[in-house]
Amino acid sequence: MSTTNNSSQASASPSRWERLRDSYMWYSFKRDYTAQLCLAVFICMVIAAFASPLLAPTNPYDLSQIDIMSSELPPFWIDGADDRYALGTDAQGRDLWSVVLYGTRVSLLIGFGAVILQALIGVTFGLMAGYLGGRVDTILMRLADIQLSFSTLMVAIVVGALVKATMGSAFYSQYAVMMLILIIGLAEWPQYARTVRASVLAEKNKEYVDAARVMGLRSKRIMFRHVLPNTMSPIFVISTVQIANAIISEAALSFLGLGMPETHPSLGSLIKSGFDYIQSGSWWITLIPGAVLVVLVLSINLLGDWLRDVMNPRLYKG
């Protein structure tokens, strides 16, 4: 395992592509139509979201482009629709198609950001706990246990609520993206830490680690350059699930009013603002962003399922 890894770092990039083409992963991907469809949907959504300033007919952040007179217009297949707004408008008269594009971008940004943060914290702590052992292990894992015994969503809601109450809503709304990345990232790091620790424990007694130690390499180098590459497959597998989780957590926080403000909406805050109008018959304001959210999360989850089947790591259960 270690030798293949070292040679992959040394070799040039074209052979890496050939290796991918010969790999079992590519073989299984070619035969799994669900995975192909999901990847296509996911990539399309990411591109559409990040190209939203080009694709969206209006800019929902620009107040001068919003007309309150055209609020709550239905999407095109219902009588009373306006040609200018294909998917209808929300309660403030914003074009729903534009708002959903921009909202998806915000949701994805927070999802990826939070996962990167929790992976950084979790992988570092997991490596330290697993490799160094002893008191470091006890303290870090006890911390993870305590945090996990509360659900991650609970931690995120409580921290979000307290931060918002402490700093005031105006300040919170202004830095909402950073706040949400921080809150969700801090709430979910134990997932990574436990997974990484479990695979480090399995790796650390192997001969290549002993060899590295005998060569006199420092612990830090062994941890990050030798052990870490061999724990990558479980990290990949949980990363997909964690992105889906982070997007759902963000939506939940926004739905509770602890996330993105309505002037700068994510998918969650669009659902929240639409929910107030569902009793008056304007279901599209809440259900169209909802459907987009479900398709996004579903495609990530199905990709994660496929990845788990292919890589088949021994995931830490419980």
């Binding site: 305590i146 996990l148 015994s149 509360f150 659900s151 969503l153 609970m154 809601i157 409580v158 609520a161 307290l162 918002k164 109450a165 402490t166 889906a244 759902i248 939506a251 939940a252 739905f255 509770l256 009013g257 659902i271 929910f275 569902i278 009793q279 018959g281 279901w283 809440t286 259900l287 909802g290 959210l293 479900v294 999360v297 579903l298 989850n301 199905l302 399922d305 259960k317 419980g318």
Partner: protein, 349 residues
């Protein structure tokens, strides 16, 4: 056993201490409770007097020690908004949440075990594949969205005009997919029966049950797919084990092998995960109760946050902490009792 209990107790005390300090540390900056209590016209001198009387001007440590001393005796202070003991407010809201969680758990247990076992026994059958497909969709729908869709379908109603009305089958299909939408989607209803003390139950009357259905199904919808998949995965693993093969080789009836031999060991990890998920359920009650305006602890907590009702927030966090610690301990105990190979004192295996 006793060593294990003491260890858990130390753990619980540590957790509660951390929670109490955290919950208390932010309170200095958490809005101005006096502003919430009095009107606009109350002069500054009067406000200062109230602050002094409530002890809000004391140093942090003094306030914390006072809080901890009282909390141990069950006194969490007065809710600024309700003007009654915070524990009393929680006690009034707790039964609604517990009934919701109970109903959701009932749905989860009733559906997850048979579906999980079936799709493990017959993994290739179309019904199993359907269940698996539905369950991954279920995992991907956030709980509040399930709730909104349920409200739209069963409380507001859907009129389908997709099929041509002129043909007989079109009209029939339109009728078939349209819903009337007469389910209640708001609050606990008027027909509550008082059981004892603060406990008014929804479970005794038809109207009460009707109000309970949509929130309970929403809350269950997030956990159900998880448990179906877990039970299926564990059961399939157990079915590969030597002792199940041996039981089959002995000629024991398949039903007995499935439900007596295999299911027992399937339930072990399910118990552990179940304990962790109870915590997640408490978090999801906040969302479910917000959508359905269900007057339980979750909705009360969100209101308390918006009102900067510090004693109520702190009490809620402490009570939720107790619930988590107690359930985790009970789960560990049960796990140790049903699985004799586990050493409860926690020696490294």
């Amino acid at each position: 056993m006793i060593a294990f209990l003491i260890k858990r107790l130390m753990h619980a005390i540590l957790v509660m201490f951390v929670i109490s300090v955290l919950a208390f540390a932010i309170q200095d900056n958490l809005g101005d409770p006096v502003q919430q209590m009095v009107g606009q016209s109350v002069p500054e001198s009067e406000r200062e007097a109230i602050r002094e009387r409530l002890g809000l001007n004391d140093p942090f440590l003094v306030q914390y020690v006072r809080f901890a001393k009282n909390a141990v005796q069950g006194d969490f202070g007065y809710s600024y908004f309700y003007r009654e003991p915070a524990l009393e407010v929680i006690a009034r809201h707790l039964p609604a949440t517990l009934e919701l969680v109970f109903a959701a758990t009932l749905i989860i247990v009733l559906f997850s075990v048979p579906i999980g076992v079936y799709s493990a026994i017959k993994p290739r059958s179309p019904i199993s594949r359907l269940f698996m497909g539905v369950s991954i969709v279920g995992i991907s729908i956030p709980v509040f969205l399930t709730a909104i869709v349920l409200i739209q379908i069963f409380a507001i109603g859907v009129t389908v005009t997709l099929f041509p009305e002129s043909t007989g089958w079109g009209a029939w299909l339109n009728d078939f997919f349209s819903t009337e939408g007469n389910m209640p989607s708001f609050g606990r209803g008027y027909d509550l029966v008082n059981v004892v003390g603060h406990w008014d139950t929804n479970l005794a009357t038809w109207n009460g049950l009707q109000h309970l259905v949509l929130p309970a199904v929403s809350l269950a919808s997030i956990m159900l797919p998880l448990f179906i998949r877990l039970i299926r995965a564990e059961m399939m693993e157990v079915m590969q084990s030597e002792y199940v093969k041996y039981a089959r080789a002995k000629g024991i009836s398949m039903r007995r092998v499935y439900f007596v031999h295999a299911l027992k060991n399937t339930m072990l990890p399910v118990i552990t995960v179940g304990g962790v998920q109870i915590g997640t359920m408490v978090a999801y009650t906040i969302l479910t109760e917000t959508v359905f305006q269900w007057p339980g602890m979750g909705l009360m907590f969100l209101d308390a946050i918006n009102r900067a009702d510090i004693p109520l927030i702190v009490t809620y966090l402490m009570i939720v902490g107790v619930i988590f610690v107690v359930t985790n301990t009970i789960v560990d105990l049960i796990y140790g009792l049903v699985n004799p190979t586990v050493k409860l004192t926690g020696k490294p295996a």
